[in-house]
Each structure stands twice: as C-alpha cells, then as structure tokens.
C-alpha cells in the first residue's frame, strides 16, 4: 500500500467507495478500469470541444465570426460534426499496406490517451502514480511519431510519404532538447514521481505585496520553461513546427488518404496529444492542479486550455519553418541551449544547496 504522505490515486478512492479489495489484482483492475473510463471521457470531452474552439479562436484571430448557427454560440456543431464525420464513407485507396493503414489511427489515438495515466489532475484524479512517471510520460508521448510513420508509409501516397518522413525528421530534432529540459526540473524536485514534482512546486517562492508566489518551475527557471514550450510545440506538431501536416505544401501530410472514422481518430489523436503536451507542461512547470479558490481539477483544465490557446496563437501568428531549418534549429540551437540549461541548473542548485 502507499504511504500516508502520498496522495491517493483515483482507483484507490474508487475501491474505497465501492468496497473493493485493492490487494486483489482483479478487483484492483476493475477499479482502475472505471477510473480510466472517467479520465478518458474527460479528456475526450476536452478534445471534442476543440472542434468548436479551434474554429472560434482562429476566427477571432483573423477577424471573422465563424460558426454561430447551431445551438448557443454554435456549440451544437460538435454533435453535428461528430455524426457527419462518423457517417462518411470509408474510402480505402488501392494498394494500401492494410494492417498498418488500419492500425495507425489506433496507435495515434490510444498512445495519446495512455499518457494521461500518470498526470495528476487535482482532487485525487490520477490513475496511477508510478515511481518512473516522468520517464513513462515522455516515452508514451513520443509513440505518436510511430503512428505518423505508419500512416504515411501505409497510405501509398506521395504526400503522405513526405509527411511521414518529415515526422521522423521532426522527432529527431526536438526529442532530445525536450527530454533534457524536462530533466532539469527533476534536478530541483529530485524525483520522477509526478505527484511529488507537483508537491515540490507548492512551496512559496517569495511574497509579493501579500501575494504568495508559489515556486512553480516556470518562475524558478523561466529559461527552461520557454525552451520546453518551444520543444513541446514541435512534439505536438503545431505551428511553427507543423511540418508533417503542412496543409499548403503537402495537402494534409500523413492524413491525406484517410477518411471517415479513421480521419476522426487521427484528428482526435492529434488533439489529445496537444492536450497531453499541455498536461506535461502544466505538471512540470505550472504547478500541476495547484491554484487558489477553485478546485484543483478546474485549475488543471484552465492551465491545459491556456497552453492549448498558446498553440492556437502560434498557429495564427507564426509562419511555418522548413524541415531543414527545423533540423538546424533543433540540433544547433535548442540542443545546445538545453545542455547549457541543464549544466547551469545543476551548477546553481549545487552552489545554493
């Protein structure tokens, strides 16, 4: 069982409520299954909202009105779009590589969902809290590139193929700066367990006019925060790094040949992935679900939507870089900066402690 200091996870709370025995693997699995269904539904609801929010935000940036006909503020367009997309004919092109073509949407959607297992969302909503949480979440988040490669290669389309090759190049460019910047946080927190990383950020950094500023790592190490946000944009494939998709260069990149439910899954998986990236940023740098007055889960949602808004802002405001430029940015800029950040963090912590 977990120690008294540790926050209890959602399956544990549920087994307490339902009177299930956590020591029995089957009953524990059942409790975890219910918890997973809850968290999965929560995240899918978020991503469904994106269908509406994305258009509204882009419209606001480009001075248009966008959807406002169906329901209040056009919100019912989510239902309409979901039904419309699911009831489209599934067109499978000639000579696609069949198992890979069908598996790619599955890999993309489920791998992104899998990452939420270890994210603490406040109010004890966290499915599992393994000791190696941070390493796990990085590993799962980068599974998505595998899905992109499968989709691009299996489609037998030149645009898709270019898109998947670009996805690999992008993965090569951002992965190391992302992880190196992530572990610079671990130097402060001294643990890979995500709940403890969040707990370490609840101490007061300094008091400003009666307001206690918590020691969120975005305040403690703003340089790492900026670097991580940039690398995260590349990880989730948003502008200026949405090279694998690049709608006005290679049609729709890896998803060119996908229609109907497969397209929905790719689209959905992509946005779950954006939210997973946002959740990692929130957990590592923005104090996780911590915040005044409102309950933790609300703060968590506010923070991940704030990061999502940031990705939408860059989408409207920043031009796309070329793939060779991305490799240079990644290896000559961000890698050097992230190594410098790691060494400096270690030296500063070493001198201060």
């Amino acid at each position: 069982m977990t120690g008294p200091l540790q926050a209890t996870t959602l399956p544990e709370t549920l087994s307490g409520l339902l009177g299930l025995n956590t020591n029995d693997p089957l009953q524990w699995f059942l409790a975890a299954l219910i918890a997973s269904a809850l968290v999965g539904t929560l995240m899918l609801t978020n991503t469904a909202l994106v269908i509406w929010a994305k258009r509204k935000i882009t419209a606001a940036f480009t001075d248009r009105i966008a959807i406002n006909r169906v329901g209040p503020f056009g919100l019912l367009i989510i239902v309409a779009d979901a039904v419309r997309l699911l009831s489209k004919e599934l067109i499978v092109p000639d000579e696609v590589d069949r198992p890979a073509y069908d598996l790619a949407p599955l890999v993309l959607a489920s791998s992104a969902l899998l990452g939420f297992a270890v994210i603490p969302m406040g109010n004890g909503i966290q499915i599992a809290d393994p000791e190696t949480g941070l390493a796990y979440v990085f590993a799962v988040a980068s599974l998505a590139s595998l899905g992109l490669v499968m989709a691009g290669y299996a489609s037998n389309n030149k645009y898709s193929f270019l898109g998947s090759l670009r996805a690999v190049a992008q993965n090569l460019a951002y992965e190391i700066p992302l992880v190196l910047t992530g572990v610079s946080v671990v130097i402060f927190a001294g643990t890979l367990r995500l709940s403890e990383i969040v707990a370490a950020q609840s101490e007061t950094l300094f008091t400003l006019g009666g307001l206690a500023i918590p020691s969120w790592y975005a305040f403690v190490n703003p340089f790492a925060f900026v670097l991580f946000m940039a690398a995260n944009l590349a990880e989730v494939g948003r502008n200026p790094f949405d090279i694998p998709e690049a709608p006005n260069e290679i049609v729709a990149g890896y998803m060119t040949e996908y229609s109907s439910v497969y397209f929905v899954l790719l689209y959905l998986g992509e946005f779950i992935h954006v939210f997973l990236g946002a959740a990692i940023v929130t957990t590592l740098f923005l104090g996780g679900p911590a915040g005044p007055v409102l309950p933790g889960i609300v703060w968590f949602l506010i923070k991940i939507w704030a990061v999502f808004l940031f990705t939408q802002w860059t989408r409207s405001a920043v031009p796309r870089v070329r793939i060779d430029q991305l490799i240079e940015i990644g290896w000559k800029g961000m890698l050097v900066l992230s190594i410098a950040n790691l060494v400096l963090t270690a030296v500063i912590v070493g001198v201060l402690v």
Binding site: E12, A32, S36, V83, L113, N157, I176, F188, D324
Partner: protein
Amino acid sequence: MSNPWIAIGALALVGILIPLGMMSVSKLLRPRVPEQGKTSTYESGEIPTGDTRIRFNIQYYMVALLFVVFDIETVLIFPWTVIYRSALENGVSLMEILAPMLVFIGVLVVGLGWAWRNGAVKWVRSPRAASERRTKQ
C-alpha cells in the same frame, strides 16, 4: 499490492476500446458505394504516377545516427538528476557529484561540435539533385 502498472494497463485497454467503439459505430452508420475512381490515391487530381514503395534518399541519415547516440545519453542522465539534490543535501561534495557528469556532458558536446564541423548536422542534398540544380542554372 495496488500495482500502478495494472492501473495503467486498464487505461491502455480503455484507450484501445474507445477508438474501436468509434470504428464500430461508424461501420453501422456509413454507406458503402464502391466505385473505381474513388480508390486511386490523391495526386492533385491527376492520375497517380507509380507508388511510394521506392528507394529514396533520407537526407537526415547522419542526424538520425547522432540521435541514437544522444537519446541513450539522455537515458543515462535521468538517474543522475534524480539523486543529485538529495546527494548534495546528504553532504556529498560538488566535486564528487557534479564533476563526473560535467565530463560526461563535455565529451558529448565535443562530439556534437565535431559532427557540426563535419557537416553531419544538416540537410544533405543528394548528388543527383545537386547536379540537376547545376544544369538548370
């Protein structure tokens, strides 16, 4: 023991069941009208020329090799970052905990600098593309 990995396995199951559920719902809803023209791959409306199962030039091959080296390096840094602070608080001197890792990172930085100078960290233009470019000008 309430093993966290069992809970993660439960989420993996849910994560696969949700897409599968959507696929089956769509299967019930969608029409099926097979026509010959529909199933050709998209190539801006033209008749597709050949397929993509060809030999191609990976222009970031050297970068990919470097990536493998650096990816393993990040794995080796992980345990050091975890123990770093508690080791310092328990009285291990800076020389003992920081210096070896500085040497390790230093070696990698030297390696990166060498690769950079040799032009490994860049988008390689294939010889054929380069010669075609020359003849055009």
